[in-house]
């Protein structure tokens, strides 16, 4: 036994990479994943620096230049008010990404504590939370969004509120499930046997082990929220004009497909490309995070 232990020592002499860099090493191997990541980073950078990147003011119309098809001045043309389509797309990216990120933060801010508390405390609290979740999830999700937005009125803030109001359910379920599973593991039992209190167990075991699925859920929730934003804006319930949003542009100009195709085809393409990039990214991140089999058991 001592001999085998020594043999294994040799391999452990090499400096072991930390969890994060191990993840990066695995992720980098996927070319599609890297392309998707670059696309999203580029898009985020363009959104962030929109005032410097956009060639025109996205809100200022020019009545001398309405309904222009793509040309050397307005690369992607202009809309009915003479606003530059490219600039509106760039500002639309801002809306899209910030709705995605903010809604997920709001969802995590509600779902994380609610789910953790329900799982840890159990008893009547858990019962009440679960019944509320049952009731809310009996409503078809899209209808719930629509009703909420009709009631609240279109707008950026209300969009976040509506998404948080529906999205926390999934997060709370996920966290509760994680907590319940971890509570029954032998290593948490061992920690309790060693006198570890609730706080110690949360800090040492729950956070470390439950965080990965939560982070993945948040990351994968971002494109979902962007998707929902586009859909609601398409229906006129999301981002109201004059603010720009891809879904809203598609919805507003959908009937001009023969005369002014550029008003819908460009936002459509950007939206589809973004969704694809997020999907690939999410898929490869999940693969890279799946560390269940590094080396495995001897």
């Amino acid at each position: 036994m001592a001999a085998t232990a020594r043999v294994i020592d040799q391999s452990s002499l090499k400096k072991r990479p930390s969890g994060m860099s191990r993840f990066w090493l695995r992720f980098r191997r996927s070319r599609a994943g890297m392309i998707a990541l670059s696309f999203i980073v580029l898009e985020a950078a363009v959104a962030l620096f929109a005032p410097w990147v956009a060639p025109f003011d996205p809100y200022r119309g020019d009545f001398a230049a309405t309904w222009q098809t793509p040309n050397s001045l307005h690369w992607l043309g202009t809309d009915d008010l003479g606003r530059d389509v490219l600039s509106r797309l760039i500002y639309g990216a801002r809306v899209s990404i910030s709705v995605g990120v903010l809604s997920q933060l709001a969802i995590a801010a509600i779902g994380l504590p609610v789910g953790a508390l329900a799982g840890l405390r159990g008893g009547w609290l858990d019962y009440v939370v679960m019944r509320v979740i049952d009731v809310l999830s009996s409503l078809p999700a899209l209808l719930f969004y629509i009703l909420l937005m009709v009631a609240l009125g279109a707008g950026f803030g209300n969009l976040i509120v509506a998404m948080a109001a529906t999205g926390w359910i999934g997060m709370a379920r996920l966290v509760r499930g994680q907590v319940l599973t971890l509570k029954e593991t032998d290593y948490v039992r061992a920690a309790r046997a060693m006198g570890g209190g609730t706080r110690h167990i949360i800090a040492t075991h729950l956070v470390r082990n439950a965080m990965t699925p939560v982070i993945v859920a948040v990351a994968l929730g971002i494109p979902g929220a962007m998707f929902a934003e586009a859909g609601l804006s398409f229906l006129g319930l999301g981002i109201p004009s004059p603010q720009a949003s891809w879904g809203q542009m598609i919805g507003l100009y959908q009937s001009y497909i023969r005369t002014a195709w550029h008003l819908t085809v460009f936002p459509s393409t950007v939206l589809a490309a973004t969704m694809l990039a997020w999907f690939i990214l999410g898929d490869r991140v999940r693969d890279a995070l799946d560390t269940s089999a590094p080396g495995g058991r001897a």
Binding site: A5, D9, T185, D186, Y187, M194, G195, A298
Partner: protein, 321 residues
């Protein structure tokens, strides 16, 4: 007999399961039914029984990881049933546990050092450099290398993982170690190494063991005394040597008959328990074992056998013992 370190008195743990629908009746499961056991200081008590008989529940109940339904748990002369979390903490640290599945009992996201230090991570345990030396000593003591400290549990073999689990349990210098099937998840070749390690450690640290296994031969090898559990109850208890040479309860006999005998000339066809255990929920009236018992008589259906002395230092719960 040495001083009793741990004594359970009529310890009972029942689970209530609600039926599927909201209006369903509550069903009570007696997983541990009035179990009274004694573990002496520095001594090993073995506990045998097939899976589902309540051994593990008993272990978790003694650790107060399950709340006991009734009965007393007397550790070092003090009833710890009913102690609050804070009062329980120092007591718990004197009894530690080794689990069946070594990998599942180690947090996959902690390094070996963090795992072993975890119990030490309480206020006043000292800064990291001070702790490193004892961790290294512990690792070497259980047959690992000090350089394994920075590695993660899934990089080790099953046997090595169990060594880590043992090192963690020892970090607090407990007086009692509850080993719940410590070797049954391991390869046969590794089992003996772990068992020998446990025996060596017992001598060195003066540990008392509650050694739980489904394998009566392994348990007898490890223990001075053995208790046999069936459907939540102790059905026979006594000195290990006597129990394996002259079992009194038919269930113990059946367990022994199930042990492979390497020498064919010594094999004999003994009574074998047929069928499965009835499950704790559906406990029949009379003797719980009678449906599988080769010696069952009418009396066994009518009257439940009590645990009674059958010889010097031995008890059994059978009308014919």
């Amino acid at each position: 007999m040495p001083d009793a370190l741990l004594r359970t008195v009529e310890l009972t743990k029942s689970f209530t399961a609600r039926r599927a629908s909201l209006a369903g009746k509550k069903v009570k499961n007696l997983a541990v039914d009035r179990v009274s056991l004694t573990v002496g200081e520095g001594e090993t008590l073995g506990l045998v029984g097939e899976s589902g008989c309540g051994k593990s529940t008993l272990a978790l109940t003694i650790m107060r990881l399950h709340e006991p339904t009734a009965g007393r748990i007397i550790f070092a002369g003090r009833d710890i049933n009913g102690l609050g979390e804070a009062a329980l903490k120092p007591v718990r640290r004197q009894m530690q546990m080794v689990f069946q599945d070594p990998l599942a009992s180690l947090d996959p996201r902690l390094t070996v050092e963090q795992i072993i230090c975890e119990p030490l991570d309480s206020p006043g345990a000292g800064a990291r450099p001070v702790r490193r030396a004892p961790v290294a000593r512990l690792l070497e003591r259980v047959g690992l290398a000090a350089s394994d400290m920075g590695r993660y549990p899934n990089e080790f073999s099953g046997g090595q993982q169990q060594r880590i689990g043992i090192a963690r349990a020892l970090a607090l210098r407990p007086r009692l170690l509850i080993c719940d099937e410590p070797v049954s998840a391991l390869d046969v070749s590794v089992q003996a190494q772990i068992l020998n390690l446990l025996r060596d450690l017992q001598d060195e640290f003066g540990l008392a063991y509650l050694f739980i296994s489904h394998n009566i031969a392994v348990t007898a090898h490890m223990s001075r005394r053995i208790g046999v559990m069936y459907l939540g109850r102790v059905v026979e208890e006594g000195p290990a040597r006597e129990i394996i040479t002259a079992p009194r309860h038919p269930y113990t006999r059946a367990l022994l008959a199930a042990v492979p005998e390497p020498d064919p000339s010594r094999r004999e066809v003994g009574p074998v328990a047929e069928g499965d255990a009835a499950g704790v929920a559906g406990r029949p009236t009379g003797c719980a074992f009678r449906a599988r018992c080769p010696a069952a008589a009418e009396r066994c259906a009518a009257e439940e056998p009590r645990l009674r002395p059958v010889a010097e230092g031995r008890v059994a719960a059978c009308h014919f013992a």
